[in-house]
Amino acid sequence: MSKVVNIAVASVGGQGGLTLSRILAVAAVLDGHSVRTGETLGMSQRFGSVISYVRIGRKVLSPTFSVGEADFLLGLELVESVRALPLLRSSGIAIVADTLKIPISASLEKRVLRVDELSKELMKVSKTVIVPASKMARDVGNPRAANMVILGVFQGISGLLTETSVRRAISEVVPSKWLETSLRAFSEGLRYSPSGQQ
């Protein structure tokens, strides 16, 4: 890998965005790459905006990157994905779950947010794949595994890491009681074909 690949992971606290970035990091090291992730954790960030930076390459030192430098945006929620969109470079690819969690600040102002409008917003400015990740995760019996579905779609599109390493990384990071359904959610994502989308 000659250049550093930058991945932004946007989520709402509690959705498993940090687990996703950790799996990418573990898989990258298994594949012999250098990796850094940048995130801040610890404050009760459940239900708050969470952005995680992942950088993979031959030699990586900085844990973050700037606006316009991400090659991929992995979004677990629509509002957060729109918020993180400026990080994506113009040639970048966004892979986003069609999950909408309306922030309290919007409800307090009676602002209405809709899945189709936010999806359209994302499609307008980048190559975007919208994935019914929550439904797919529910279908494999683990509603919390939408992050693994997105990881699977990313694996299918990018081919950045070897599938063997990603699967092994999942088993190193995910607690055993969720492992089987997490791997299945990953497989579902891998098989997902974004037909009819740009």
């Binding site: 610890g42 009760s44 900085s62 600040s105 919007a106 990071v173």
Partner: protein
């Protein structure tokens, strides 16, 4: 799951900086690790608990950082290898014993992890603890990556034992919370007590002649610190490249410098320090020899900049030094590659500039903000709602009764719609600051809100002060039986600790009664009506009143028992939003016509149902 503490030497894996430090402590043969939770330092002890260590190693949370440091110091003077961990403000809590420890010194290695937070991301100030070197006269070392964090954690012990001084392992968030590849090293057996030789002049600070003598000893040790560091540390002070344009840097800032210098391709000499105190004068003098311009790139204060300037002035060299004082590097906030690139471009002709600076997208118009709220079912939310109603029922306006907050999840009540607290200052300050307002003549009632762990940490003494001086004050102890904000660590009320060790619970109610509080009442905040009437009554009563708002953290409660969930009956909901405006619960949202409750997120506290004027919210399954 992979266990980074038990994996053998030679394995390379991705570790978070704090996990790497935990591994480093184990590799160094630590036998006592104590700390108080605080972002970004908490995962060191949390990983030792999660992944498990030999029963020969004592790993526990202490009641506060000062106690943690003193336990570690006590262990180190009897020959054990010991570590204490804390966030930046925690180092101030531990400062008194830390300063004295430099005079007594140690036998077993003692490493103090102090995690600073440029940004700041999760800390009240951008306190720069590199100054602890000059202030406490203790060696300070710093890593730039998870690998270096692990290796320095080991080397700091060797250095500490050789110098017989505690060593400060100073990190920043971008090392503590960064995941990167780490090559694991060999694990040494825990170094436990070796004996305690009585040495009064060394360990008793009551004799002034002894203190003067020990100060002289300390300065002698600091004089050899650079030589010892060079000999024992696996992470070195280094010079990369050559040229007359020089950059002096350390820690996280080095990562940005290295990448930018490589991208820009301008001939640059990069000097990276890992030993920050005492300043490695011999190394530095050689490293900057022949430099015509020196740019110091660092986060927080211009610490290295002043060190470099003072050294050059001593050497009689008139090299120009740029950095924070000259305005090339910002004094506030954390660095990134864009800022570093711009600083270099402004000094070196031909260096390209013009890259974006921001690592976080600016707020986009139309995208609603999402600051961290209190979780669905959070007992603090119910308590605050009851408080605000109780205040008005007692005949006061919300704006007339100041609420002094403290440090913990309950400070999230500063956000809309509750906007309940007026201050959040430092651990324990809610009670003493509320008292300060009263003794200064504030006439109306005052309320202090403090969490259970914060009360144990630094709230007990202020309460003694308030009781003793007969101040009229209402204190709420928001007791959710856990240190919630930093990731659910144990409190002194727990009977069994994360390590599996049995403990004797220290009950808050017993403490309150022993201190002599005039009126103690314990109420479950889920019982909103009882809570409202308790507030209404207590706020008018004279004396020191403590209302213990007692209900487990909703996140933990949901794990231990099945929760009922609520739903909105569509026919009855008018979309008036009373439920959302009262509670601000993130499980609820407005879809344009009605309110929706997310069944994934509802924790079943029922607060919203209590405030729906149309009875439109009911328990799922009750229809």
């Amino acid at each position: 799951m992979f266990n980074p503490l038990k994996a053998p030497e030679g394995v390379k894996t991705a570790l978070m900086g704090n996990e790497a430090i935990a591994r480093g402590f184990v590799e160094a043969g630590v036998s006592v690790v104590v700390g108080y939770p605080g972002t970004p330092s908490s995962e060191v002890i949390a990983s030792l608990h999660e992944y498990g260590v030999s029963s020969e190693i004592y790993v526990e949370w202490a009641v506060n950082e000062r106690v943690a440091f003193e336990i570690a110091y006590g262990a180190a003077i009897v020959g054990a290898r010991a570590a204490a961990t804390m966030k930046a403000p925690g180092a101030s809590v531990a400062l008194d014993p830390m300063v004295s420890s430099a005079y007594g010194g140690v036998e077993g290695g003692l490493v103090v992890l102090v995690a600073d937070d440029p940004g700041p991301h999760t800390t009240q100030t951008e306190q720069d603890n590199r100054w602890l070197g000059f202030l406490a006269k203790l060696p300070v070392v710093t890593p730039s990556s998870p690998q270096e964090a692990k290796d320095l954690a080991v080397s700091a012990f060797d250095m500490s034992e050789e110098l017989k001084l505690p060593v400060i392992l100073r990190t920043t968030t971008r090392v503590n919370h960064t995941v990167g590849e780490v090559l694991l090293g060999q694990v040494r057996p825990p170094k436990r007590v070796s004996g305690f030789r009585k040495d009064v002049p060394r360990f008793v600070r009551a004799g002034m002649a002894w203190n003067l003598e020990r100060h002289r000893w300390l300065d002698k040790q600091l004089n050899i610190a650079e030589e010892v560091f060079d000999r024992v540390s696996r992470v070195r002070n280094i010079v990369e490249g050559s040229g007359r344009f020089c950059i002096v840097t350390e820690g996280s800032a080095y990562n940005y410098v290295r990448e930018v210098v490589d991208e820009v391709g301008v001939e640059t000499r990069v000097v990276k320090l890992s030993l920050l105190f005492p300043p490695p004068r011999r190394f530095l003098a050689e490293a900057v020899e022949g430099c015509t311009d020196v740019l110091v790139i660092e986060e927080l204060d211009p610490y290295l900049e002043l060190v470099v300037k003072s050294l050059l002035s001593e050497l009689g060299v008139s090299t120009r030094v740029f950095g924070k004082v000259s305005g090339h590097i910002p004094l506030e906030g954390e660095l990134n590659r864009g800022l570093v690139r711009e600083a270099i471009a402004s000094l070196v002709s031909g260096a390209p500039s013009g890259t974006p600076k921001e690592t976080q997208s600016k707020p986009i118009p139309g995208v609603p903000s999402r600051p961290p709220p209190m979780c669905p079912g959070c007992p603090h939310r119910s308590m605050y709602v009851a408080m605000l109603i109780g205040v008005s029922k007692a005949g006061y306006k919300r704006g007339d009764v100041p609420v002094f907050g403290d440090i913990g999840c309950y400070a999230l009540a500063s956000q809309p719609p509750l906007e309940a607290i007026w201050t959040e200052h430092s651990m324990g300050a809610s009670i003493s600051m509320a008292m300060g307002a009263k003794v200064a003549g504030f006439e109306g009632p005052v309320i202090a809100v403090i969490g259970d762990s914060t009360f144990y940490h630094a709230g007990i003494q202020p309460l003694i002060e308030a009781v003793h001086k007969r101040v009229d004050i209402l204190v709420v102890v928001a007791d959710n039986s856990v240190v919630a904000m930093t990731g659910h660590q144990s409190t002194p009320a727990w009977p069994t600790l994360e390590s599996g060790r049995r403990a004797k619970p220290v009950a808050i109610e017993d403490l309150l009664r022993a201190i002599g509080v005039d009126h103690v009442e314990v109420v479950d905040p889920y019982d909103v009506d009882r809570m409202v009437s308790a507030f209404e009554r207590l706020i008018r009563q004279p004396g020191v009143k403590v209302l213990v708002s007692k209900h487990p953290c909703a996140l933990l409660e949901a794990r231990s028992r099945s929760v009922r969930r609520y739903r909105v009956v569509e026919d009855k909901c008018t979309g008036c939003l009373a439920c959302i405006r009262v509670t601000g619960c993130p499980a609820m949202s407005y879809n344009g016509e009605k309110v929706v409750i997310s069944s994934d997120d509802c924790a079943g506290c029922g607060l919203c149902a209590r405030f729906c004027p149309y009875g439109a919210i009911e328990v799922v399954g009750s229809e």
